[in-house]
């Protein structure tokens, strides 16, 4: 081999290596497909009786960073519909503030479930002088974007479940989802509810390898330990995993009676498919918070499946609390909401509460509106979907639900929190 050939080979090897490193870095950067959490309450219309003319309302810009593509796209597209529906309703009603009529001017941007993109979107909103920002709803994306807006007097609304954990209390941050963390959190309560419902002899946990997955695993492990149910398998899978067969083989060898997989439908669905192919159908399967009943659609052979509903089941026609939302949704989109559309409440209620809070505050100043949002008693929002309570750090939160699926029949039950 000549020196020239050797040099060419060396250059080629270097190129491949650089390419590989680049790919690895890109994978690390775009990694986690996290989930997020829910929010607040719907309503139909009313912003209070008023004789103020809304013929030519003044616009209030609202920026929204929504994960319409990327890892959380399936949730993000529902979020986008929830935001649009609420804005349309608020604008139709008119927002009356101190005798003047306003409406929302929505600028929605796709953050591609990417922290870097979300930071850019936030900067754009801030440069435009926006005082109200919705999202991101995905924890890892939100945390990065939120940090980039520190010091700005902007009211931010997000349904992410880990925001308060990572950011601490901020009066200008409005969260409507109970934290997933700790013994008072939803995941811990979920473990207790599952233990009581199914009385499993042992449990296997398989979560996504990212902060939310780790949070889930900690909460579930503590919850099952408290319920005296042994966790015989607890592992993580990397983002982007499609072949779950090696995990299923390992879990099957432990013979658990309950298996929890997290936390997006894009993970849970192929897992269940491949579990059926592997003849592993006897346990109760549970989708960690973030997944929906869409995970089990089209899959036959599994009898018991359960999910945590982060807001409120909106496909439940017998629930009067979601009747107004269901009617508004059906009128806007031409079909009734399905089992995965509960994510829309994450922003639907936020936006309607925001419009109401402006009226209550008599101002569109973010600080005054935030004060109204956090301190107004629940009777100020009589037509919202859900009753909100306020946590120890004054974060509004829903009472989550559990959905139990038995051979296609779904039962929704409120999740008792500790």
């Amino acid at each position: 081999m000549t020196n020239t050939l050797r040099q060419q080979r060396g250059a080629r090897r270097a190129t491949v290596f650089i390419a590989l490193v680049g790919l690895l870095l890109a994978a690390c950067g775009s990694g986690s497909k996290s989930a997020s959490a829910p929010t607040s309450a719907p309503t139909s219309a009313s912003t209070g009786a008023s004789t103020v003319s809304c013929a030519s309302p003044t616009s209030i810009p609202i920026g929204a960073s929504v994960s319409e593509t990327g890892g959380a796209a399936d949730i993000g597209q529902v979020w986008a519909k929830g935001i649009q529906l609420a804005v349309d309703i608020a604008n139709k009603n008119g927002i009356i503030v101190a005798g003047k009529c306003y409406n929302f001017s929505l600028s929605e941007q796709d953050d591609a479930t990417s922290p870097e993109v979300a930071i850019g979107i936030y900067q754009k909103f801030l440069q435009n002088g926006d005082k109200y920002i919705l999202g991101p709803g995905v924890g890892t994306v939100f945390t990065a974007a939120y940090a980039s807006a520190k010091g700005d007097s902007v009211l931010i609304m997000t349904p992410t479940s880990i925001g308060s954990v990572t950011t601490g209390y901020n009066p200008l941050l409005f969260q409507t989802h109970i934290t997933d963390a700790g013994t008072g959190g939803r995941v811990y309560a979920m473990a207790g509810a599952l233990a009581a419902k199914y009385k499993p002899t042992s449990v296997a946990l398989l979560e996504s390898q990212d902060p939310l997955g780790e949070l889930h695993e900690q909460g579930l492990t503590a919850g099952f330990k408290n319920a005296n149910v042994p966790v015989v398998y607890a592992q993580y899978f990397p983002a982007g995993t499609t072949d779950f067969a090696p995990y299923i083989a390992a879990i099957k060898s432990k013979n658990p009676s309950l298996v929890i997989i997290g936390y997006l439908d894009t993970y849970v669905h192929p897992f269940l498919q491949q579990a059926v192919q592997a003849g592993f159908t006897s346990p109760v399967f549970v989708g960690a918070p973030g997944s929906t009943f869409a995970s089990i659609q089209g899959i036959t052979g599994i009898s018991n499946y359960a999910v945590s509903i982060t807001t409120r089941a909106v496909d439940n026609a017998s629930d009067p609390q979601v009747a107004a939302f269901r009617a508004a949704w059906t009128a806007q989109f031409g079909s009734e909401p399905n089992s995965g559309d509960f994510w829309a409440l994450s922003y639907f209620d936020d936006v309607l509460m925001l419009s109401k809070a402006m009226s209550v505050a008599g101002s569109i100043d973010p600080t005054a509106v935030a004060t109204a949002l956090h301190s107004t008693a629940s009777e100020s929002y009589p037509d919202r979907t859900l009753n909100l309570s306020f946590g120890s750090n004054n974060i509004a939160q829903y009472t989550p639900q559990m959905g139990y699926w038995l051979n296609g029949q779904i039962t929704y039950v409120n999740l008792p929190l500790g």
């Binding site: 080629r12 390419a19 890892g71 796209a73 990397p238 982007g240 669905h269 498919q273 491949q274 192919q277």
Partner: protein
């Protein structure tokens, strides 16, 4: 030791290895002939998967869709090379940048046509072979069998056919090949076309087992690049050997240990190979390459 887990891990490892090998074979072919690291290989795989899904919604069966996708992707590959990569042949870095640009373009096309949702394609094989308590879905066996066939066919093509010999000649010394009267550019286009067909074949096989979504190709592409380094860039046999090492160790690592630990182990293995055997597992001599 749990015998069932052991046997199941071997099967799972072979399936993983087959997927990685298909991606790596396409990468190594393009790299060997064109000196381009084609980042868009994953998007070609994704496109193949989505086209099969799209055809299935129009009532076109899996086995009918297979040749349509292969021919279409080969034509696309030929067109991409002649229209884009051929113009930057003297500056491989620009070729690399083009391939990155293609990721964005194909990704956007997929997004706009099919959206972010996950879709199932009707399984072409629903048979499950049971050996003891080990279950082997027929669709997974299909992936392994097709990969073996592809390797044999590619070897025969490169070693025994005149176009294959021409491609090898171009890969080894394009100037000398040109002096021998070989139309170098045409064979470069053909190599790219074969590589694109291999990528789309990977996509077609994946949808026989997994749902289609925009992230379907992420992991296979990343692992394909690792395999390329392990086996030796430009060596088809090395690609297969590297894929076997990676796939089987991954299946056993996840089965008996942890996925995150296995990931670390894979990268440590990569560093060790780069340090002690930088030409890869196979590529010890010039003859071992394309």
């Amino acid at each position: 030791m749990d015998v069932n887990l052991f046997l199941q891990s071997i099967i799972n490892g072979l399936v993983l290895a087959s997927v990685y090998a298909l991606v790596a074979l396409g990468l190594t072919l393009v790299f060997g002939v064109l000196d381009i690291v084609n980042f868009a290989q994953g998007q070609l795989l994704l496109l193949g998967a989505y086209v099969v899904y799209g055809l299935s919604t129009k009532g076109v069966g899996y086995w009918t869709a297979l040749p349509i996708v292969l021919v279409g992707s080969a034509a696309l590959g030929y067109g991409l090379d002649s229209a884009l990569f051929a113009r930057v042949r003297k500056t491989p870095m620009n070729g690399l940048l083009i391939s990155i640009g293609l990721i964005a373009i194909f990704g956007d096309v997929v997004q706009r046509v099919w959206g972010p949702d996950q879709y199932d394609v009707p399984q072409p094989i629903t048979t499950v072979i049971t050996v003891g308590s080990v279950r082997i879905p027929g669709a997974r066996l299909l992936i392994v069998a097709v990969t073996i066939l592809v390797l044999i066919a590619l070897t025969v093509f490169l070693r025994l056919s005149r176009p294959g010999a021409a491609i090898r000649a171009v890969a080894q010394n394009s100037e000398a090949a040109a002096l021998m009267g070989i139309p170098v550019e045409r064979y470069r286009h053909i190599a790219f076309a074969v590589s694109a067909a291999l990528a789309s074949l990977g996509g077609v096989l994946l949808v026989a087992v997994f749902p289609v979504d925009p992230t379907l190709s992420d992991s296979p592409l990343l692992k394909g690049f690792i395999v390329l380094i392990l086996g030796g860039a430009g060596s088809p046999l090395g690609a297969v050997l590297g894929a076997l090492v990676l796939g089987v160790s991954e299946a056993f690592g996840i089965g008996y240990w942890s996925a995150s630990g296995t990931q670390v182990l894979e990268l440590v293995l990569l560093i060790v190979i780069l340090y002690f055997r930088p030409t890869g597992l196979i590529r010890t001599a010039h003859e071992a390459t394309l």
